[in-house]
């Protein structure tokens, strides 16, 4: 299994994001990265959007639906969002999408901060195995992994993909 080149994937994803913002007419979009990998990807994408606000971060530890099975993550870092996301277009960014449960939790948390105008989902990698009806609007690359195999992003500099 060869992993996609991360530099190239990021560059292409940035281009797609710029097109998406233009096509959908998203004004002053707020990029929200999901901790930890999603934040790195969001920072990377945001660098290509000059004048855009800082990346907001979401720590979904308190919103996971598997809390009772997996417990709290020992280092919950907390979310950092602007005072209001009311009526703002949000671009939610994660490194890897699998079951879709992280995204569900992230959307639940976002709504506790306000009512965004819209949410678009951008993921660096899609490895399938979806358990919820949630699909990214943009995705850098699709991977088909063997059973039990997972992919992990390390970073922030350099961003690297490894199979686990």
């Amino acid at each position: 299994m060869t992993l996609p080149d991360i530099e190239q994937t990021c560059t292409e994803l940035t281009q797609q994001l710029i097109e998406l913002i233009e096509r959908e007419g998203l004004e002053n979009p707020l990029l929200v990265g999901i901790r930890t990998g999603g934040v790195w990807v969001a920072e990377r994408l945001n660098a290509a959007l000059p004048g855009n606000d800082d990346v907001a971060t979401l720590d979904i530890s308190f919103y996971r639906d598997d809390f009772t099975r997996h417990g709290l993550h020992p280092k919950v870092q907390g979310s950092e969002l602007p005072d209001s996301i009311e009526d703002r277009p949000v671009i939610l960014i994660d490194d890897v999408i699998m079951s879709g449960r992280t995204i569900r939790a992230a959307m639940n948390e976002l709504f506790d901060y306000g009512r965004p105008a819209s949410i678009h989902l951008v993921c660096l990698l899609d490895i399938g195995r979806r358990e919820l009806p949630i699909q990214p609007d943009l995705c850098g690359a699709k991977l088909t992994l063997n059973d039990g195999q997972l992919v992990k992003l390390t970073g922030p500099t350099p961003l690297e993909l490894t199979l686990a």
Binding site: Y63, R69, P74
Partner: protein, 328 residues
């Protein structure tokens, strides 16, 4: 077999499953509680203050002894974690009709409760309950006799950390009735574990426990000496019923010697913070000018109390579950 206070509180892999005392818990675990509480402070600054962590769980506030602040902050903490909470005023209910403690507990367990927050006048009550409840029910000690009040101690640690940067290297004085204080005991254990440079206790000889030095605290009988160079001054409430036992001459006398005034506070460091677990007796252990003054962080303690209780409840609840492999 020797008594190990930490053992009953922890899972085999060292996670918190009950929270009964700060004694014997590792620095890592106490720090984890503070870190988690820090995250909960940020969720409480939002428009929507609740998080869904304990949705569907039932928490029972089991108070065999009166309390307003502790009970209501536990109630708010549970609600902000989306748990359902039942407040039982045991002093006025079944126990007064002759029901035993274990019968009360079995009845509550039969209602599928997931967590008991216990306050009891007897030292060791929470520990006893933790040893006898069915598996998967978490016990949080909200104060047992003279023994421990661990969530109060941890909210005090969080207050020090947030206002002084860290606990490590700080000189902390605890003033007043140490002898009867479960708060002081829990504070001393937590302060020692978290690396305070020096823990002092200040009060009249009749109100300082004789074994205080073996707990790692230095006794002082004079405020000038005791407060010198302190970073943190923690005042304890003087329980008025102590006067009746001839442990103290009078409130006026106590205030004169140990009451915190601006004049006495000047012995401490210029940037010292003043704390108090509440409720305060103005003019008995602290004067209003200090309680409401720039050094006072007494009301911040109340806010942090909710975050610390949320942290401990979430951690203990998660410790009652068997962990499985972490997913991607």
């Amino acid at each position: 077999m020797t008594y190990d206070p930490a053992k009953v509180q922890l899972t085999d892999d060292g996670r918190l499953k009950h929270f009964l005392t700060t004694e014997g818990l590792s620095r890592e675990l106490l720090t984890e509680i503070l870190d988690t509480a820090d995250s909960f402070i940020s969720t409480q600054e939002r428009a929507v203050k609740t998080v869904p962590l304990l949705r569907g769980k039932t928490v029972v506030n089991l108070f065999f002894e009166n309390s307003t602040r502790t009970r209501s902050t536990f109630e708010l903490a549970a609600k902000r974690l989306s748990a359902d909470i039942l407040n039982l005023d045991i002093a006025r209910s079944a126990t007064s009709k002759g029901e035993t403690l274990m019968d009360t507990l079995w009845n509550l367990e039969a209602m599928y409760s997931d967590m008991f927050v216990v306050r009891h006048a007897d030292s060791g009550a929470a520990h006893f309950i933790a040893e006898h409840v069915t598996p998967n029910v978490a016990i949080i000690n909200a104060g047992d006799g003279r023994h421990a009040h661990p969530t109060q101690a941890m909210l005090d640690m969080l207050t020090i950390r947030r206002h002084k940067g860290s606990i490590e290297g700080k000189i902390v004085a605890i003033v007043g009735d140490i002898l009867h204080s479960r708060v002081a005991r829990s504070q001393i254990h937590a302060l020692r574990t978290l690396g305070a440079a020096e823990v002092r206790v200040i009060g009249p000889g009749t109100l300082l426990p004789r074994d205080i030095e073996s707990m790692g605290a230095v006794p002082h009988y004079d405020m000038k000496q005791g407060l010198a160079d302190c970073d943190v001054v923690i005042m304890l409430r003087l329980q008025k019923e102590r006067m009746q036992n001839a442990l103290l001459p009078s409130e006026g006398e106590f205030f004169k010697l140990y009451g915190l005034t601006e004049e006495k506070l000047a012995y401490a460091k210029p940037d010292a913070i003043v704390m108090h677990p509440g409720p305060i007796n103005r003019g008995v252990e602290i004067e209003s000018a200090v309680a409401d003054g720039p050094h006072s962080v007494i009301l911040n303690q109340v806010s942090y109390g909710i975050a610390v209780r949320m942290a401990v409840m979430a951690m203990a609840m998660s410790g009652q579950q068997t962990p499985t492999e972490e997913p991607a």
